[in-house]
């Protein structure tokens, strides 16, 4: 075939196609006798109970001293990173014969613009603590011995420091001499604990609120001031390296439990209140290839006051729960399936948590249903304890409502 033949064929079809058109609209059908159905099922809650564990505020954005509402703060523990903010200099750097470390300063910033009441704070450290003395997630009044800290190594009052030409900040500045630096740079420990205990000099009923390591703008800082020898006679000006806090926690004295806390389904970080509940899903099977649209468990709050920015987290339990009584535990006895975390904010005094991921596993037999744990989310106000209606409520008891699509 010659080129003219091919061209004629191609251009003829281009012409035909150019005049073609598509108009695709859905044809309406009666829903009956078509595949797919949307099913709903409600599961009752058959057991609920609250329990108490030690306070859980290690991930909070602030550190506290003094007294806040019903909570007494004993002291604060702060641990610093062993490598500086440039990610280069460890404390071993100051063992260099050409480096002279002169002093060290621990800086903590208040969530204040001005000083209304100035008090004395004092500082201790843990020279005999080895590589670790506390953990912000697990350390509390039941498992930490304050006496393991050293004697007082520094003290500070609140001062207003200039950050730049326009900004000031209320701070604590604990100065330390070379004795402490020598302990920090000692190579006997590959990773020294670099921890401090900070406390009020005298008991005070006021609240003092400082930024913790969870506040990325103003975490506690440790500054090491040093000079560098360039030769026997030439010394560079004093400079410093900054080490940021890696962990910190306020230690709260044992909180009191009210009747409401133990009667209702309660959650609260500072009080260490958590709850467990059992949903009766026994015998339910999720049909093959189905998908759960929502598996909402709705909790109704007992109080009706305004609550903003409060979230609750929930996990499925990995073992059987004790629903008999309100109990107090030193350690939380309930392990959870952490991959199945669900969390939601309380809106209009109602908490609606979607359990569709774990409900899918329950419905397909992939996991055993031991119930759910609920606790306040780490970013919620730790000092607020929230109560929800439990089985004793006539109309507001929780119920798991599942909507799913099946083939």
């Amino acid at each position: 075939m010659d080129n003219n033949f091919k061209k004629l064929f191609i251009y003829s079809f281009m012409g035909i196609i150019s005049f073609s058109a598509c108009d695709e609209a859905a044809i309406p059908l009666d829903s009956n006798n078509t595949p797919l159905s949307i099913d709903t099922v409600s599961f009752p809650i058959i057991n609920t109970v609250s329990y108490q564990v030690p306070p859980d505020i290690g991930l909070h954005e602030f550190l506290y001293f003094g007294k806040k509402e019903e909570f007494n703060f004993l002291y604060n523990l702060v641990r610093f990173s062993n490598i500086d903010s440039t990610n280069i200099y460890t404390f071993d750097f100051y063992n260099d014969s050409l480096i002279i470390a002169d002093s060290m300063k621990l800086i903590m910033s208040f969530d204040l613009d001005s000083i209304e009441q100035n008090v004395d704070f004092q500082l201790r450290y843990f020279p005999g603590g080895g590589d670790s003395v506390f953990n912000e997630l697990t350390t509390n009044y039941t498992n930490f011995n304050q006496l393991s800290a050293s004697s007082i190594i520094s003290s500070s009052i609140m001062s207003i420091d200039s950050i730049d030409s326009v900004t000031t900040q209320v701070r604590l500045n604990f100065l330390m001499d070379t004795t402490i630096i020598n302990v920090f740079k000692d190579t006997s420990f590959t990773s020294f604990n670099s921890s401090f205990l900070v406390e009020l000099k005298t008991e005070n009923s006021s609240e003092f609120k400082l930024f913790s390591s969870n506040n990325l703008s103003n975490p506690p800082k440790l500054r090491v001031y040093y000079r560098k020898l360039l030769s026997d006679s030439v010394v560079l000006d004093t400079s410093f390296h900054t080490y940021y806090s890696s962990q910190d926690v306020s230690i709260i004295d044992k909180p009191n439990i009210t009747t409401d806390d133990s009667t209702y389904l309660s959650v609260g970080l500072a009080k260490g209140i958590r709850s467990v509940l059992m949903v009766d899903m026994n015998g339910w099977e999720l049909p093959k290839r189905s998908i759960i649209s929502s598996a909402d468990l709705v909790y109704n709050r007992v109080k009706n006051d305004t609550l903003i920015g409060y979230s609750v987290s929930s996990y499925p339990l990995r073992n059987q729960a004790d629903f008999s009584n309100f109990n107090i535990y030193d350690n939380d006895p309930y392990d959870v399936e952490s991959n199945y975390l669900s969390s939601a904010p309380i809106i209009n005094n109602q908490l609606k948590i979607n359990y569709r991921k774990i409900s899918t596993e329950f419905g397909r037999g992939g996991k055993v249903n031991y119930g759910f744990k609920i606790q306040s989310s780490p970013n919620s106000d730790p000092f607020k304890t929230i109560q929800f209606h439990n089985l004793n409520s006539n109309i507001s008891y929780p119920l798991l409502r599942v909507i799913y699509v099946r083939q």
Partner: protein, 419 residues
């Protein structure tokens, strides 16, 4: 290069765009009985001559009657409207691409590609509202399907004697289809996909014979036996539901759950067509022909595990039709005399396998073809209009315009000996 790419892209897109009928939701959808535009114009099933005197492009046995080698394509645009609703759909597609070489007026060889069935559909249900423990739920469903089985054929025409010819076609069936079923709950789509691949093969044996011929009258019969060699089998990929959180129509990282489980199974014997067709053509002088055809078609697939939108499949079909054709004369002086005119009417009666319900398609068609250039180039137009209705079901109106372009050239023709 750009033009070539543009054409390729456009052809691929256009070839997959098929007009959707409500009846495409049954099993593999409706199967066509005619493919070439000249056949469409006569309302024929392709047995009797409709392209050229003595030649049907859909009947292999008649190919030796062609004067030239042809490359031919047929393209249609069909509009479907459901009665009692205002919904009208239209879409275009290729019906057939074909290359036919007549050899020494005794043999013929051809290649063709065509879509066998039409699986394209898009349905939606009314929105239903209900309250579930204080939560308002608005839900509806959507169903889409597309793709289908393609047929690539190699045909060979052989003479039996001076008045009879035989055609054998070896057909490879291939392709894929997909369907998407969605439930929409409060404007969130929950989608589920099924993908199917197809492979199989069939044979067609065509016959053409002239029973009687004088200057005023000729009587010819035509027949076809279609047999399945390898019933269509393939793979079925069943994807689980996912929540299309961002309504992107595809599964991505924003969707729930995090991974999409697919269950792959082999499917066998899902389509096994067998048919017998017979046609009679009476030709008068001045190239006027009247014809009648019937066809019995049966899908003898044994695997009933084919989920479609409607829980039923097309199991058999009976076609009956007739019409008249007046062929144009390429050598005529007046251009009007070069036009081929076609007219026909037919009925296709489909039987559904499980419910036993019948789907009846009635249609009339009209078409004409115009020859141009010395190598017998031909352009054919056809128009079909008809209805489809099912027992106790919806009625559908359809219109179809088909355009075919056939370009001739001289290959393997007997040359005159040099004087």
């Amino acid at each position: 290069m750009f033009v070539n790419r543009f054409i390729k892209t456009y052809l691929i897109i256009a070839s997959f765009a098929m007009s959707q009928s409500i009846f495409n939701g049954y099993g593999l959808g409706l199967s066509r009985t005619s493919f070439h535009s000249s056949v469409n114009g006569a309302g024929s099933i392709g047995l009797v001559p409709s392209f050229h005197p003595g030649v049907s492009m859909d009947n292999t046995a008649t190919w030796p009657g062609l004067n030239f080698t042809y490359i031919s394509g047929s393209f249609s645009n069909q509009a479907n409207g459901t009665k009692n609703t205002s919904v009208v759909n239209q879409a275009a597609r290729f019906n057939k691409l074909q290359f036919v070489i007549p050899i020494r007026e005794r043999y013929g060889l051809g290649l063709s590609v065509k879509p066998l069935n039409n699986h394209n559909s898009f349905f939606t249900t009314d929105t239903m509202a209900f309250n579930f423990d204080g939560k308002d739920i608005f839900s509806r469903k959507e169903f889409r399907s597309g793709g289908g089985i393609m047929e690539a054929s190699l045909g060979l025409a052989l003479p039996l004697n001076s008045r009879m010819g035989l055609g054998i076609s070896i057909n490879h069936l291939f392709g894929s289809s997909r369907d998407e079923q969605s439930a929409i709950i409060n404007n969130t789509y929950y989608r589920m996909f099924n993908l199917r691949t197809y492979t199989g093969s069939t044979f067609d044996f065509d016959f053409a014979g002239q029973l009687y011929n004088n200057n005023n009258l000729s009587i010819s019969t035509f027949a076809r036996v279609g047999l399945t060699n390898k019933p269509v089998s393939g793979k079925l990929y069943k994807f689980n539901f996912y929540e299309d959180s961002n309504n992107s129509y595809s599964f991505d990282t924003d969707d729930y759950p995090g991974d999409l489980v697919v269950d792959t199974t082999s499917i066998s014997n899902i389509y096994s067509p067998n048919s017998f067709s017979f046609g009679l053509n009476v030709g008068f002088k001045n190239d006027l022909n009247i014809f009648s055809e019937f066809q019995m078609w049966n899908d003898e697939a044994t695997n009933t595990n084919y989920a479609s939108i409607f829980n039923d499949q097309i199991g058999s079909k009976f076609h009956f039709g007739g019409g008249m054709i007046r062929f144009g004369n390429l050598n005529a002086r007046a251009w009007q005399d070069q036009i081929t005119f076609r007219l026909g009417a037919y009925q296709d009666k489909y039987s559904l396998r499980y419910s036993g319900n019948s789907l009846i398609e009635n249609g009339i068609s009209v078409g004409f073809g115009f020859k141009f250039a010395t190598t017998g180039n031909q352009i054919d137009f056809s128009f079909r209009n008809g209805t489809r209705s099912i027992t106790e079901g919806q009625k559908e109106l359809f219109k179809e315009i088909t355009i075919g372009v056939s370009l001739g050239d001289m290959w393997f023709l007997r040359r005159r000996a040099k004087q």
